[in-house]
Assembly symmetry: C2
DNA sequence: AAGATAAAAAATGAATGCAAAATGGAGCCT
DNA sequence: AGGCTCCATTTTGCATTCATTTTTTATCTT
């Protein structure tokens, strides 16, 4: 049986995407790595499904060697897992895995906030304020999708303002692992939680203006912790629903 | 010219070491990865030097394929870098790289402290207290080496008490990158800084006993920040000295 | 027809092969 | 001698091949 997975772009030519995680676009292996990482992060292969080595080779027009090299790296990054003699599978995150990942993300953002207070410029703060009010508009219009995007953007701006590439890379890595869940989790927000999140964002902005590093660090950690709770709850519900459906069918 | 690098253990038999970063000891690739990572982290190849692919293959008694897979992973972890068509080199960390790494470590330990306060048992605290007093003994006897080891142990215990495997893995990864420098940096401590560090450790223990998460988080960050300053200063001196020697010679 | 068994096909993991690129000298010129 | 070119050697990156293991399919048994 041919597993039907979405296309993966052109059969390798020259398309360096520049993802932010690393930049070895020069070699074939590097190019494959970037493409494959995006491909997996975007959720083109279902969780727990096996990664079709041969098929991907054909899609990319390459041999197995560079593909397998990329797979090892993705495994080290935690996106896939390698079963001995049974190839690569898309890593399925347990609830515990998600809790851990959210906490690590919280720690990294918390750190980013602290460092940002040391280095951020007035212009950068002004830009984040601008985003904040735009996001507030989406909130008032109950535009979840718009809200989510700006929200993401604000958090990335804070990380960028920390002026620490090592941190940014690590952040991008962990963000990639939970991308799918994060997205759906945000949409799961109850009205109540949404209002809370807005208030937290105001506190974040306030602490940032005052360059109150350790305060901002606390607020960001708590903010992410609350997100985590919402996400995990949502995910548990979703998985229960799936399980129930499966039992019926 | 044959580059002379230290031995690398037996030519692959069965020796799963279990390093704490990941555990794919099953495959040849996984075994190589563990060994090679340790080998590099321990500083067996000088900074900036090229990684002798062929030689390592012979030492390990394997072909280039699994070795190269391991190299890609180590590159992704930041231990080595891959130059297009020019193979792998031991990554040379710039001063900025070190600053960034120390800050990320500070963030991770800070997070660990916060999480530990939620989960740590009285027994674990007692164990850390025990270590603390043992370390104090080394401090009184001016035993740098003993002090350093216990110090390391205490920090690892805090990370372990956070009950977050994802965090522990990330911590181990970053710790590996700066292992060499960290070691020498600790020995560079001035008397003054050493006394300060002892006081900070007392504050850490105090906050931990009270399970004061965000307070501990702050203290740990500051503690690591101070370490960073000492380390960077020391490294700058060391590099200057090296440069001077090179200029003379 | 359900389940166990065996043979065929496909996949995985690692070694080997090969073209392109980089490195290291030997000879040459100034 | 110092620096250049050119060629042999080595190294690198990727494709291909090969031995195992797993998975699928076909067959047999009850």
């Amino acid at each position: 049986m041919k597993s039907l997975i979405p296309e993966l772009g052109a059969p390798i030519a020259q398309s360096a995407s520049g993802h932010g995680i690393d930049r070895q676009e020069a070699s074939l292996h590097g190019e494959i790595l970037l493409r494959l990482r995006d491909y997996v992060v975007q959720g083109n292969i279902p969780e727990g499904a096996r990664v079709p080595e041969r098929q991907l080779c054909e899609m990319l027009g390459i041999s197995r060697t560079p593909l397998r090299e990329a797979l090892k790296v993705l495994a080290a990054e935690g996106l896939i897992e390698l079963l001995p003699n049974r190839g690569a599978r898309i890593r399925q995150l347990s609830q515990r895995d998600l809790e851990e990942l959210f906490d690590v993300m919280a720690g990294l953002e918390s750190l980013a906030g602290r460092l940002a207070c040391e280095a951020i410029t007035d212009e950068e703060i002004a830009e984040i304020e601008r985003l904040h009010y735009k996001m507030y508009g989406h909130y008032l219009h109950r535009d979840m999708h718009g809200y989510f995007q700006i929200n993401q953007h604000i958090h990335e701006s804070i990380v960028a303002s920390a002026r620490n590439e090592t941190l940014r890379t690590a952040y991008a890595n962990f963000a990639g692992r939970i991308r799918r869940v994060r997205y759906s989790a945000n949409f799961a927000r109850k009205r109540q939680r949404w209002a809370e999140a807005m208030r937290e964002h105001e506190a974040i902005l306030d602490a940032l203006r005052r360059r109150a590093g350790s305060e901002l660090s606390d607020i960001l950690f708590q903010h992410l912790r609350n997100k985590r709770t919402a996400a995990i709850e949502h995910l548990a519900e979703a998985r229960d629903a799936t399980a129930a459906t499966a039992a019926e069918g």
